[in-house]
Subunit: 434 residues, 2 copies
C-alpha cells in the first residue's frame, strides 16, 4: 500500500486540476482528485464521498418496468401528471408510511427529485410578486442552492447547528417576517448531517409557514431511514415525521433513488397538499395562462422541462410502492443495512479521536444512517480533507453544504465488507499518526 | 353517426372549457374539446391534432433496455454526459446518416429533446452579455417559444412563408445584424408545416450564423423523413440535410421519439459541433465556474435540471442507433408509413377543394410526411377549426405555431386503416356541404 501520499504529490494533483482549495471543491471535483490519486498510488481509496445507493435496485421495480416495456409503453408519451395507477399507489403509500391523506391527483412524477426541486423552486418564485426569495435550512444538498443560483432567484440560508428547538423559531421569524420568502427547503433526514428534525422543530416550521404564507419544500429522499423510529409496518404507527402534520403549505419530494435503490432511472414523486394543489395564484395565471398550483407545476413547468417522466419507470415506482403498501416489500428493512455500516464506521472514527460534528437531535444522539459528519481536534476543513486524502480516504467538505462548522461528510453507502472496514481502520490509524 | 355537431353544442363546450377562441387554444385544450365532443356525440373523432408516434416502438430498443435493467443499471446513477457506448454509437450514427464527424464526447443524452431545447436556450442566453435574445424561424413547435417565455428570455420570430430562398438572408440579416441574438432555432423537417429547408437556405442560415456569431439549434426530430430524398443507406449519399455543412456554430437535437417511435421513454441526444463543444465562454465561467460550452451544458444545466437521463433508456437508444448503422434496422423504411398516410389524407383534402398552405420547398412540392397544413377558400383559422370540429375532425390552428397564414396543421400519425380514411372522407364531404 503506497500510503500516505506525499504532500508534493497531492499538491501537484490539485494544481493540475485547477483546485486552489479542496474545501471549496464540488463533489465531482473531489471524486476526480481521488481518482487521480488512486491512479498515481496504485491504491484503491476508501470512498466516503459518493452519495450513491450501495444496494441492488428493488427487483419488483425492475420486473414491472420490463413488463411495461413489453406492453408497449415505450412508444406512448407518458401523461405529464402521471399514469393513474402510479398516482393511486403513491397516495396509498403516503397514507401507509406517512399517515397523510393526499389525493392521487396531487401526486406527480418527476425526473428524479432534482427535477422536482428545480421546478418547485422555479414555480414558487413566480407565485406572488413580493415573495421572490428561497430560504434554505442548511447544511443541505448543494445542488438545491445551485437551482436558485442558475435560475437567478434570490436565496438565503442559515446553518441549523446553533438553532435547534425553540431557537429555530426565532431564526425563522427573523427571515420570514421580512415577507419576501416564497418557500423554504430542507431534507429530512438531512443530507449531509443526518440531523432529523424533532416533532417540536417540525411544528415550529409548520406554524411559521402558515403564519407567513410560505411553502415548505420537504425532501424525503431518505424516507424511513431514521432507524431510531421503525416505520416499516404499513398503516401502523409510528410514521415518518413530516411538517405536513403542522401546515397545509407543503410539498413533499419522494425519490426512488435511495428508498428503492432506483437512482439510475431518475424517478421521483412530488406530492402537494390537497389544499395547495388547488390553490389559485393570480400571477401564475397572468404569466402562463394556468393559475392552479398543481396544474401549473405539471402543465407549464414540467411540460417545458422534459414533457414528462419515463413511462416505464413510472410503472416501476408504482409497483414498488404497491408492494410496500401490501407488506410484500420491506424497504425500511432493506435500507437498514446503511445503519449497520454507519454504526461500524462511526465507531472506527470515534475510537481514534474524531468527533461527530452534528451529534444530537434534541436530547437524543443522532441516528445511524446514510451520512454522518466528523471533525478532528479543531482541524479546519482544508487540513482535514487533505490529511484524509493523503491516507487514502476521500470525503467532501462541510463548507460546500452550507455548514459553518469544521468537518467533512461521510457517506457509508459503498463500504460494506469486513475488508473495507479493516482497510478504513488502518487508514484512520495512519491519519492519527501523521 | 351524430354529426355534424350543432353550433349550440360546440359553443357550450367551448364556454365550459373557458375557451374564447379555438384558434388561440393549446394542443392540450384542442384535445380536451375533441374529447368532450366525442363524449357528447357518442362518435369517435378523426384525430389530426396529436403529434404522437403512430407506430410501435423499435423492438431492438425495448430488448436492449430490458437487458440493461437485468444487468442492474436501475440502481446506478447514469453519467450525466452519457454512457460511453451511447456516445460512440451516436457518433457513428451521425456519420452514417448525416455525414458529419462529431466526436463522441460532444454528444450528450437528454430527457427528450424538450429537455435539450429548454437547456440549450437557457445556456445560450448566458454566453455573452450583449446576446440575450433567441430567434425562432416559424412556424414551429410551440413549446420551443414557451421555453423562452417561462425562462424570461427575450425572443423574436418570423414566419418563413414569405422569406424562402435569398429572401431568407435579408430577413436573417435584419435580425442578426442587431447583435443581440444568441441563438436561432428551427425544426427541419418542420413541425407543423413539413417545410424542408433547401441546401441554399441551410447555407444562408449557416453563413449568417458564422458572420454574426450566433448558435444554430437545429431540431432533427424527423430525421430522414423528407422521403423525397432516401437517406436510408448508412454511409452512402444522399445524407440528411443540415446546417452543419455550412457553419461550426451548431447544435443538433436528435430525438428517439419519432425516429424510433420511442416517445414514452423521453430519450434524445444533443450533439455539439466539435468546435463549439470546446469553446470557452468567459461569462459561463464567471457565473457557474465551468466555462466550456459542452461541459457547462452537462455539468451545470443538465445537472440541476434532472441529474441526467434514464440509465436504461440510454442503453435503448444506443442499441437502436447501432442497429441502424449496421444496416440491421431501417428506421427510414419504418417511418415511411407516415408518407403513405400523408399521401392519402392530402389527396382527400385537396379532392374536396382544400389547399396546402405551405406547399413548396424552392420549386419542388412539399414532401409527404408526418404533418402538412391545409386551408379552405379563405376561411380564417377560427372558422376553419370550428367547422372541422362540427364534422368530427380535430386539428390545431396554425396561429399557435407562429404562422401568420390561415390554416390548420394536420398530423397523419394516428389514422392508418382503410376505415379511418373512409370515415375522414365522409367528414370532409360533410364539411364542404355545411
Amino acid at each position: 500500500m503506497n500510503l500516505p501520499i506525499s504532500d508534493e504529490t497531492l499538491n501537484k494533483v490539485l494544481h493540475e486540476m485547477d483546485i486552489d482549495h479542496i474545501s471549496d471543491a464540488t463533489i465531482k471535483q473531489c471524486c476526480g482528485v481521488a481518482k487521480a490519486l488512486e491512479d498515481l498510488s496504485g491504491t484503491r481509496f476508501s470512498h466516503l464521498e459518493f452519495g450513491v445507493p450501495g444496494l441492488k435496485a428493488c427487483q419488483i421495480g425492475v420486473d414491472a418496468q420490463k413488463r411495461a416495456l413489453d406492453d408497449g409503453v415505450a412508444s406512448i408519451y407518458p401523461n405529464i401528471t402521471g399514469i393513474p395507477e402510479l398516482k393511486a399507489n403513491a397516495s396509498e403509500f403516503i397514507k401507509a408510511f406517512i399517515n397523510l391523506d393526499i389525493n392521487p391527483e396531487c401526486i406527480i412524477p418527476t425526473v428524479g427529485s432534482m427535477q422536482g426541486s428545480f421546478n418547485l423552486i422555479f414555480q414558487c418564485s413566480k407565485l406572488q410578486k413580493e415573495k421572490d426569495t428561497i430560504l434554505y435550512i442548511n447544511p443541505g444538498f448543494s445542488p438545491h442552492m445551485l437551482h436558485s443560483h442558475v435560475l437567478g432567484i434570490n436565496y438565503e440560508s442559515f446553518d441549523i447547528y446553533n438553532y435547534r428547538s425553540e431557537k429555530l423559531r426565532e431564526k425563522l421569524e427573523e427571515y420570514l417576517s421580512k415577507g419576501n420568502v416564497a418557500a423554504l427547503l430542507y431534507s429530512n433526514p438531512n443530507n449531509p448531517t443526518w440531523v432529523c428534525l424533532t416533532e417540536e422543530e417540525l411544528q415550529i416550521i409548520g406554524e411559521c409557514a402558515t403564519k407567513y404564507d410560505v411553502i415548505v419544500l420537504e425532501d424525503l429522499a431518505y424516507l424511513g431511514m431514521d432507524f431510531r423510529t421503525d416505520i416499516s409496518k404499513p398503516f401502523e404507527a409510528p410514521f415518518q415525521a413530516t411538517v405536513a402534520n403542522y401546515t397545509d403549505n407543503y410539498v413533499l419530494m419522494l425519490s426512488a433513488s435511495k428508498i428503492f435503490s432506483y437512482a439510475g432511472e431518475r424517478i421521483s414523486l412530488v406530492a402537494f397538499s390537497n389544499k395547495l394543489y388547488k390553490r389559485e395564484y393570480k400571477q401564475l395565471k397572468e404569466l402562463y395562462g394556468i393559475g392552479r398550483m398543481g396544474e401549473s407545476f405539471a402543465l407549464t413547468f414540467l411540460y417545458v422541462a422534459s414533457s414528462g417522466t419515463s413511462h416505464s419507470a413510472q410503472h416501476a415506482i408504482s409497483a414498488m410502492m404497491k408492494a410496500a403498501v401490501n407488506g410484500e416489500y420491506d424497504f425500511v428493512g432493506e435500507t437498514r443495512e446503511y445503519a449497520r455500516r454507519a454504526h461500524i464506521i462511526k465507531g472506527l472514527f470515534t475510537k481514534y479521536g474524531f468527533n461527530i460534528v452534528y451529534d444530537k437531535d434534541g436530547d437524543a444522539n443522532i441516528g445511524d444512517g446514510f451520512f454522518f459528519t466528523i471533525g478532528y481536534q479543531g482541524l479546519d476543513n482544508e487540513e482535514l480533507l487533505l490529511r484524509l486524502l493523503r491516507c487514502g480516504i476521500s470525503a467532501i467538505s462541510l463548507k460546500e453544504t452550507g455548514s459553518r462548522q469544521a468537518g467533512v461528510r461521510v457517506c457509508v453507502s459503498v463500504l460494506s465488507s469486513d475488508q473495507d472496514m479493516q482497510l478504513l481502520e488502518q487508514r484512520i490509524k495512519m491519519f492519527v499518526e501523521l
